[in-house]
Amino acid sequence: MAKLILSMDGLVLKEIPLNKERLTIGRKPFNDIQIDNLAISGEHAVVVTILADSFLEDLNSTNGTLVNGQPIKKHFLRNNDVVELGKYKMKYMADLQAGAAASDFERNAAIRSGSLKMPSELKLTPMDTITRSSVGVASQPKPPMAGPAAAIQLLNGPNVGKELELTKTLTTLGKPGLQVAVIARRPHGYFITHVEGRQFPIVNGRPLDAQAYPLGDHDVIEIAGIKMEFFLRG
């Protein structure tokens, strides 16, 4: 479970588990977290928690709410965010384990239509979530792959000697309408595939078929009459 750690002048006052969908903070006694200090408004702020995500909203307080030093109106809380209300500080600690577990089972769920209110009201109440799948891990897109760098060098034609780095996921070679091939940069290597034209690319003297062909260091490719050498960097 995610929690807020309330402190003042470096002294930890309280740990507040975010176990409620709506947790109010203010000076008046009906708040879930009452902070009896004149710098705090009667109804100062609210933390809305949906599944593993928490949002902080300032309720037009007199002295405002800061997150990491910046005044906010609404804020999506991230792990280790520091919320400031007057002299009080609250550190937001996400429960990363629960987040991962929840995402294992509750990713890909549908919320019944009608049970959703506008998020602008900050009253999201997902009910009756249905499980779209029991598989899945946090779906962050992977960083770009870190395979060895590679390039091709032209061996004939007007640009002989010129090198072309294969940095993109796809590099197309040849003349559109005549003959085009593509080199795909993948986690486990570089692959050349025929794209268009009647002629297929030739690698080390042998024409390819429609299948992708894994390139080896110093392979010689011929496309539309141009010969080039594929090589791995360092």
Binding site: L51, A52, D53, F55, K74, F76, R78, G99, A100, A102, S103, E106, R107, N108, A109, A110, I111, R112, S113, G114, L116, M118, P119, S120, L124, P126, T129, I130, T131, R132, S133, S134, V135, G136, V137, A138, S139, Q140, P141, K142, M145, K168, T169, L170, T171, T172, P176, V180, V182, A184, R186, P187, T193, V195, E196
Partner: protein, 291 residues
Amino acid sequence: MRRLCGALFAFGRGRSLMRLQDALEMVALSDSGVLRGHNEDAVFSDAALGVAILADGMGGYNAGEVASSMAVSRLSAELGSVIGSCLSETRHGRCDAAVIERHIVNEVGAANFDIFNASRGNPRYSGMGTTLVLAWFYDNRVSVAHVGDSRVYRLRGESFEQLTRDHSLLQERLDSGLISREEARHSDYKNLVTRALGVDPTVDVDISDFDVQPGDLVLLCSDGLNDMVDDHDIAHTLQALGRNLPLAAEHLIQLANDNGGRDNISVVLVRVLGDYAAPAGWWQRLLARLK
């Protein structure tokens, strides 16, 4: 009068019109991904009808597959007969686009009700549902109907645009400014959809139409693609390989799998090869002649 019509009709016939199957190339491909043992997506494409459909099912056991294939098979059959008949020779290949669009919305509603009833009637299917995107190409336009977080994109030259807006919790949070695009990329709750077929007895269907030009590429995809591969890489793949549509589809799926392939991945690619204006009606031809 009768003779006049005949003459006008003959005049109109003089224009050469491209048939849909000559103006459109379509490729549909679906893959279960790296982590999943089965595929809950369903796809359909028919260039002669100008129809492409993609559904991403959800629900335990194989219920997701049941929901998505119910949606796709019902809609492809129903729309196939309706659009097929208005495109046929007896109607001179003319459809009333507004009527067909209403029909699409009604049919999606009927498919929703079917899935809803099936999930009510069978405990194994309890809670199943599916997203849906449907594209209908007619008269140099495309009508797009959608429910859920499957998407339609259009590539025109350098410009790669998302034509649909996800019905998802994340999209609503983005719209209301609660989170930024960057935060959205890292949210754990990407796949919470706010609308799906089969969840309630009725469903809200978004339908809009867009113009289409020769050279355009239209992509329908499930979130297994756009969660794994960012828009820039999708656009780059389509630009590089668009002239070989089956290869482009394979590469998109391969990219998603290389990046982790955590969900089923489906794509339908449509390449617009030429103009496909609908044949004009007799009175339109008359007006054109009198001008």
